[in-house]
Amino acid sequence: MKLNTNENKNENKKSGYVGGIILHTAAGYGFLSAGIVIAVVGAVVLALLPPLILGDIVDMLTTGKNLPLHMVILYFAMLALTGIMESARERLLTVFGQKITHAVRSRLMEKLIKLPADELNHQEPGNLVSRFVGDVDTVENLFTSGIISMFADACKIISILVVIWVKNMGLAMVLLLLLPVLFLFTRYVQKNMLASQLENRKAVGRASGHVPETLHNIRTIHCLMKERYMEEKYDGYIGQSYRAMEKTNFYDAIYSPVILILNAVVVAVVMLLSASGNTSVLTFFGMSAGTAVAVINYISEIFSPVESLGMEIQTIQSALAGIKRINEFLALPEKKETERAYSAGTDRKNNLPVVELKDVTFGYDEHVVLDNVSFAVNKGEQATLSGRTGAGKSTIFKLLLGLYEPQGGSVLINGIPSVSIRNGERRHLFGYVEQSFHMVPGTVKDQITLFDESISDDEVRAAAALTGLDETIMKLENGYDTMCTPELFSQGQWQLLSIARAAAAEPELLLLDEITANLDAETEKTVLQALKRVSKDRTVLSISHRTMAETGRIIPIQSNK
């Protein structure tokens, strides 16, 4: 996508929002946008012509004139052209809608990268997905079945009214009075339908969530003999959706009959008035048989755009809600761009401690967690941060990883502020083992490499072997290429895999965050020893609540309360 280039960054902030993205895309695909305008206008204008020609034909027939063949051909040609224009419009709109959604999603992903770690933690994954997928789809609908078709429908209504005005002024006035009422009725029905649809969707969501839940909890269900209870619950959810649907069905079934009866009434009134014989009425309603045919044609044509107009308003409303949510996401504060990204390889200063905290003060919101903390860990040293829960041990790790910036003092890795370390170098600098393993979708190998192709298969095996997992993995059906499922490994083995992930890129520094939570002391010691054995200059910094896991030097962290 062209949108990702640097020029985008220099534009003012507003252009980063959905509106800006749309304009930018529309401008970027000039021919496409022009094509859409031509197709939309063309379809509207062309659709007006066939009834006019038909009217002429009928009039010629009533006066007993012979039909010239070209009139017949012209009638059909206009019908065909309208169809072709509509087809082109749909085609171009589809392409355009997709361009827009692509651009919006790219932009959202860029934004995700720029979010500060705090914000990332606050975002619920399910919510983010509905922003990226659901909300963006509503933006697409805005184009494919919202604004543009609304414009087309409005044009259609107006142009039909104009033609009728010319042909039969009285009818035009009747319609002008009738259309707003009709429109309000349409909106009323649609609003009620939407409300019960939402209700239905909620119930459907509950019912469909019930199935995976059943699968997941099947052991408990069988164990407690709750099959019948679960069935009844499921039926209850379906019942809820059923009742909501019944309401939708009512409105759905009532709408079209009402419209068509109205249609018939209007035709009847016009016919009656033009047959009245009263001269003052006839100045408004008088018409020839040909005009009558054309007018009947138009009347049925003016009702369908009113109906679609209502739907389009609904689409636009939900799209606006979607856009609002997207814009809120795009407006979230971004993490500070550091002026210059350091390379820990080339900018490093020798003989400095690998990790150094100097008078670090840090807190979340008002609450100060770290107050003037200083310590240093030298190359090859093994150290453990020790302190009570809430003393800020994990926070120190987050500072070291560059997820947060200290409010006072400095956090240095090889003498470089941790937030300034270049992204691509992070992996070779530190390996981080979290408290629990985060599985990524993919094979066992992907778990270790995190899709980094620069890590060779040998390195992957070496890392796994370090943790003693190699043998287990080789026994799997496809070895390292086995697709991962949560059931593949035991809890302890997942933790070992997490260590393999951290060690795969041969980092200088290993950060182990309470990995004892899921490992027994025995396994933990084996792992730490294995890590230590392989690399003499590897520095290891770990967090533990438990004394038994502490190895090497202990750095006490005082909680600030």
Partner: protein, 593 residues
């Protein structure tokens, strides 16, 4: 569940599509009558419009008067009213029919799903198959609805229109009717492309959702490992693939419909030309202007309808495919099984448990490797037995062995009866299990504990030391816990699951690490409550935290597939690894908050 009894009582066969139609005969009768009135009545519209135009010509020519028109107009409005009222009835009941079918099919499917064993669900992929089948039900019921609707709307209406056309001028009718089938054949040919691109689109959209979810849930991991830029590029590629697939799929869907209409409208050229001749008196038939307009508008309506015929066949085809997939799964076995279960008397007591030379290995492991072997011990009611050992030593597997999900070696006898030989219901009445996974439901705290039974929730909450926190929640015990209990902390979820297990007490209870997220004091309190309540039960407590082990009646130490069994004191002196682990934790406990 009155409805349900109903359809099981009759000779309803869940795997016969006809049964569903038969069960809904009342609704379908309403649909049939109103459908016939509506569709035959549709002819009234064009017919009246023709007459009115003709009448207008006559009035303008002075041959007819105002009152002729008035009668005509009134008849027109009344006829339209009746026709549209029938339409309303038809639409409403067709949808009700679809709803009923949908609900029935889902009941049947879910009933058999919830009775499938865990192995069938997880390993043989039955879970996935059934989940898809439940989705298929929507397609299937929708297809049945469309089929029922279109039998009238397309079938009857097309025939009626054709009859009318043929009656007015059969030669002209035949010529003009040549074209709608052409458009239909074209649509049929395109269907393959539409389906292929549609499948590709669905697949890409799944890929994109998965990628988004992964990116969102593992955001911190990717950031920490510096993979964000690379992941972004990967996402960008997925976006491009999605865009391509989406454009391809939607273009065929949206672009072709207007073109099909154009093809089927070719007939109007002939109608106007030859119809014009008819009016002028030098054609095949003698027409007035009314006949001309009626014929033309009939044809227009017919061609619009026939462009929808393609949709009808698509829906029916889709329904057939869905039905074929779900048919083998449709067996309404549920109620009989339950009834039987309710009648039989079940064992619900245990005196003595005897485990002899117990061994276990998963069936599909190469070389028939065992996770543990040769475990023998006895236990009697009122005892709490601790199970521990290094990571992946098989302690969780030992606990699960009591569920008999897979065959085991040796024997587990409950008062002399072999556990594996009891039927599933008996076993479920005997063995309670709480695993690592708390398996909570997206419901209130109360419902999660009771699961439809009656008991005092407050007492149960107190017993697991969860009463205080629950009281502080906004709705107390009626607070929703979220999917899988996401709104609770790990320790809260564990205690809730424990309360549920205690509520549905079984003579043998296997608790796999129920205290891992609790602090030491709470752990002790919950343990003491458990102890005072377990007079009639045998409890297995699997854990890697050993604080409570001195209080247990027996300890099983598992290592490298072998078990050492004895009291805490015996193991302390006999197994050095056990002693070291225990002492390590004891020392560490001072440090814990």
């Amino acid at each position: 569940m009155k409805k349900k009894e109903n359809f099981n009582a009759g000779n309803f066969k869940a795997d016969r599509i006809g049964s569903y139609f038969k069960a809904e005969w009342g609704v379908l009768a309403a649909v049939t009558i109103s459908g016939l009135i509506y569709n035959l009545g549709l002819l009234a519209g064009p017919w009246f419009e023709g007459l009115m135009t003709g009448c207008l010509v006559d009035i303008l020519g002075g041959r007819k008067g105002f009152y002729d028109m008035l009668t005509l107009v009134l008849a027109y409005v009344i006829a339209t009213g009746i026709v549209q009222a029938s339409r309303y009835i038809k639409r409403f009941y067709v949808r009700r029919f679809a709803n009923n079918v949908n609900r029935r099919m889902k009941q049947v499917l879910y009933g058999s799903l919830v009775r499938k064993s865990r192995q069938e669900i997880n390993e043989e992929g039955v879970g996935n198959v059934m989940t898809k089948a439940i989705l298929d039900v929507d397609d299937c019921a929708e297809g049945m609805r469309k089929f029922t609707t279109e039998v009238f709307d397309t079938g009857v209406a097309l025939l009626a229109y054709m009859g009318m056309l043929l009656w007015y001028d059969w030669r002209l009718a035949i010529i003009s009717l040549l074209f709608p089938p052409v458009s239909y054949v074209a649509a049929e040919k395109m269907k393959v492309v539409v389906q292929r691109t549609g499948v590709a689109y669905k697949k890409q959209s799944g890929v994109l959702s998965d990628a988004t979810l992964d990116r969102a849930s593992n955001a911190i991991t990717y950031r920490v490992f510096g993979c964000e830029e690379e992941r972004r590029e990967d996402y960008e590629n997925k976006l491009s693939a999605y865009e391509k697939a989406a454009v391809k799929a939607n273009i065929w869907n949206t672009m072709m419909t207007p073109l099909y209409r154009v093809i089927s409208m070719v007939g109007v050229i002939f109608i106007i030309y030859f119809g014009g001749k008819n009016v002028l008196g030098d054609g095949w038939k003698l027409w007035d202007i009314a006949a001309f307009t009626t014929f033309l508008s009939c044809f227009t309506k017919l061609s619009v309808k026939s462009s929808k015929a393609a949709k009808l066949f698509n829906a029916v085809h889709k329904a057939q495919v869905s039905w074929k997939r779900i048919k083998p799964l449709m067996k309404s076995e549920s109620t009989e099984a339950d009834r039987e279960a309710d009648n039989g008397t079940r064992i619900n007591r245990v005196g003595e448990l005897e485990v002899d030379n117990l061994g276990f290995g998963y069936p599909n492991v190469p070389d028939n490797e065992k996770i543990f072997e040769g475990i023998s011990f006895k236990a009697e009611k009122g005892q709490i037995i601790g199970v521990t050992g290094p990571v992946a030593c098989g302690k969780s597997t030992l606990g699960k062995t009591f569920l008999c999900e897979y065959p085991y070696d040796g024997s587990i006898r409950v008062d002399g009866r072999e556990l594996a030989q009891l039927d599933a219901k008996d076993r479920a009445g005997l063995v309670g299990y709480l695993g690592h996974d708390t398996e909570l439901f997206a419901d209130t705290i109360r419902n999660n504990i009771l699961l439809g039974d009656n008991s005092d929730v407050d007492v149960l909450l107190r017993e697991v030391c969860f009463d205080g926190e629950v009281a502080d929640m906004e709705n107390g015990a009626d607070t929703m816990v979220g999917t899988g209990g996401v709104r609770l902390s790990g320790g809260q979820a564990q205690r809730l699951a424990l309360a549920r297990t205690i509520c549905h007490k079984k003579p043998i209870m296997v608790l796999d690490d129920p205290f891992s997220a609790l602090d030491k004091n709470t752990e002790k309190q919950v343990y003491d409550n458990l102890r005072s309540r377990s007079g009639e039960t045998i409890v297995f407590l699997i854990s890697h935290r050993l604080y409570m082990f001195p209080n247990m009646d027996k300890v099983i130490w598992l290592e490298k597939g072998r078990a050492e069994i004895g009291t805490h004191a015996e193991l302390m002196s006999r197994v050095p690894e056990y002693a070291r682990l225990y002492n390590d934790q004891k020392g560490g406990s001072a440090d814990e908050a």
